[in-house]
């Protein structure tokens, strides 16, 4: 163990009078795959928004590799090495699959990012990097197609590819299999297992069985609060978790 990559200290988020996330403290060890589970509206996506820098917490701190990063602009989080895929697909619809990914590659290279004069094709490696990322998620044959014209499952795969292209040290995946067919889900889970062998991954996933087999550690959120955190076995037998989550018969969902 090289110590925690990311530490959330008492973070919370209020939307007006509504508390979506309340005093959550968790730390994530390098190299681990952690699954975040919890019923609908538990605050999982909000938690991801805070950890990825999209939204600043209304309380608490976020430490990434030791530095307090809460409150920094979103693009800084990404450049530091935190990237996220979205529960609701969020792509550049009119641009090709290749360009979607290439844009993410370009953004993390300071020398390429804001170039005003040299042709984008002349920045070495970016196009190749984008293509190999597309190949990784099985979309290379679709590289020239506008993102909007891809099938749902393909868009979900592209969603992951765009996040991966930021070469994150910490990858946050928010329900990557949402709306996927069983075969696509299987492929996606295999891909996630492969991705997790090379970097730290946080995964929000409703399909409990899969998470249990895949994750090193499970974090359970409930009504904006941290309910439990531990190994899959510990979570399976946790009384609180059984009561509010498994007891509700939610394990069969999806």
């Amino acid at each position: 163990m090289t110590g925690p990559v990311l530490v959330a200290e008492h973070i919370g988020k209020r939307f007006g009078g509504f508390t979506a996330l309340d005093d959550v403290s968790v730390s994530f060890e390098a190299g681990q795959l952690t699954a975040i589970i919890g019923p609908n509206g538990a605050g999982k996506s909000t938690f991801f928004s805070l950890l990825s820098g999209a939204v600043a917490p209304t309380s608490g701190r976020i430490r990434f590799e030791g530095a307090d990063v809460a409150g920094q602009p979103h693009h800084r989080f990404t450049r530091m090495g935190i990237a996220r895929s979205y529960q609701i697909t969020s792509l550049f619809p009119q641009l090709t699959a290749h360009e979607n990914v290439r844009l993410a590659c370009q953004a993390i290279h300071a020398s390429a990012r804001g170039g005003l004069w040299r042709d984008r094709a002349h920045y070495p490696g970016l196009a190749e990097e984008a293509d190999s990322t597309l190949a990784l998620v099985g979309l290379l044959a679709r590289r020239g197609r506008p993102a909007a014209s891809l099938a749902h499952g393909e868009q979900r795969a592209l969603e992951i590819a765009v996040a991966l292209a930021s070469r994150p040290k910490l990858l946050l995946l928010d329900e990557p299999t949402a709306g996927m067919s069983p075969e696509e889900t299987k492929e996606m889970m295999d891909l996630i297992a492969r991705l997790a062998s090379e970097r730290t991954v946080l995964l929000v996933e409703h399909k409990m069985k899969m998470v249990m087999g895949l994750a090193d550690r499970i974090v359970v959120l409930h009504q904006g609060k941290l309910l439990a955190a531990g190994t899959p076995d510990a979570i399976r037998t946790d009384a609180d978790v059984r009561r509010v989550y498994l007891g509700e018969g939610r394990s069969g969902r999806g």
Binding site: A54, H75, P93, A104, A107, I108, A112, R120
Partner: protein, 330 residues
């Protein structure tokens, strides 16, 4: 895997054709514009297409590529025109210096208005740009000593242009056209480079999905401000050229109708395309030219054409042609 990638990258011939067209778009447009005075009914119309085509192109940079609909671009066109005009008429600056000053004034103004307006989004952004541009109009209207107020700025006739040992007669319409063309082509070349460069891609990312653009590491505010300023610079250049061409700067240059002109021309031709703004400007000005001889209500005809275009060619005339070709060759 490398071989897969290589295989997938071999493009169909249609894509080849559009890649070639893209590479040659500035030379092609240059040839077309060089031939323009001999094609359209009058020299005056040709110069207007040149100047307003550039103005619309500058506006399109912001609207078509970064997705920001400004209703205040008259401010930058006008700032260029007044900047150059005041330098010429009040301070006796040479023609080239006057152009540089006009462009610089427009750039500074764009930086200011941009910094204030990019805090808002969507329709609020549009309204802030409109309000700030009207403020500029009002100031110019009041500052009679500098701008000539509602009578416009006069006394800036440039009759001879010296380039090294060369003395060109700027009163000759043909000479004037080609001098202006040189500036327009230089600007088009720079814009084409910009659009092909990483920054052009980043602008499109902001247009397509602002929050994802930030999520993958782009500083969206910064991109917007740079896009806004560059757009203002181009429109400012168009304004300086208009001042040199007309030898006066009418106060209407700054009026919101001038802002609307850019919106109409770009929508007519096709936003987010390189050639669309010129096509739109040409159609608009051609209708004006032809119908204003017949009837004082020529704007009615422009209005009808505009409505028809928006209804039936939502991508604009050029945008539709380009999309149609892309589909056929895909």
């Amino acid at each position: 895997m490398t071989r897969d990638i290589a295989a997938a990258r071999i493009m169909p011939s249609g894509a080849d054709w559009s890649a070639t067209a893209q590479r040659w778009r500035v030379p092609l447009l240059t040839v077309a514009l060089a031939a323009l005075p001999w094609i359209v009914p009058s020299q005056a119309l040709a110069v207007n297409i040149l100047i307003f085509g550039l103005y619309a192109t500058g506006f399109n940079l912001l609207f078509g590529f970064a997705g920001m609909l400004s209703f205040g671009h008259a401010a930058f066109f006008g700032a260029g025109a007044y900047g150059a005009g005041i330098a010429l008429a009040r301070y006796g600056v040479g023609w080239f210096g006057a152009i540089a000053i006009g462009v610089a004034v427009a750039g500074v103004l764009a930086l200011l208005i941009g910094a204030l307006s990019i805090r808002s989004r969507g329709i609020y952004f549009s309204m802030v740009t409109l309000a700030l541009a009207q403020l500029v109009y009002y100031v110019a209207f009041q500052a009679t000593d500098w701008t000539g107020g509602e009578n416009g700025l006069r006394g800036l006739t440039v009759s001879v242009i010296h380039i090294g040992p060369l003395a060109l007669n700027f009163l000759d319409p043909v000479t004037k056209y080609y001098v202006i063309l040189v500036f327009v082509v230089a600007a088009l070349y720079a814009i084409s480079r910009l659009l092909n460069a990483p920054f052009g891609a980043a602008m499109e990312a902001v247009r397509e999905n602002e929050s994802r653009a930030a999520a993958i590491g782009y500083d969206v505010k910064r991109i917007k401000l740079i896009a806004f300023t560059l757009s203002g610079l181009v429109c400012g250049l168009a304004g300086t050229l208009d001042a040199l061409h007309l030898s006066i700067v009418p106060i209407d240059t700054l009026f919101y109708q001038t802002s609307g002109l850019a919106v109409m021309m770009v929508l007519l031709g096709g936003s987010g395309t390189f050639l669309g703004p010129f096509v739109g400007a040409a159609i608009f000005l051609l209708i004006e030219d032809v119908f204003s001889i017949w009837t004082p209500h020529w704007q009615l005809f422009v209005g009808i054409v505009f409505i028809l275009a928006v209804l039936f060619l939502p991508r604009g005339v050029w945008g539709t042609l380009a999309a149609w070709h892309k589909r056929r060759s895909a």
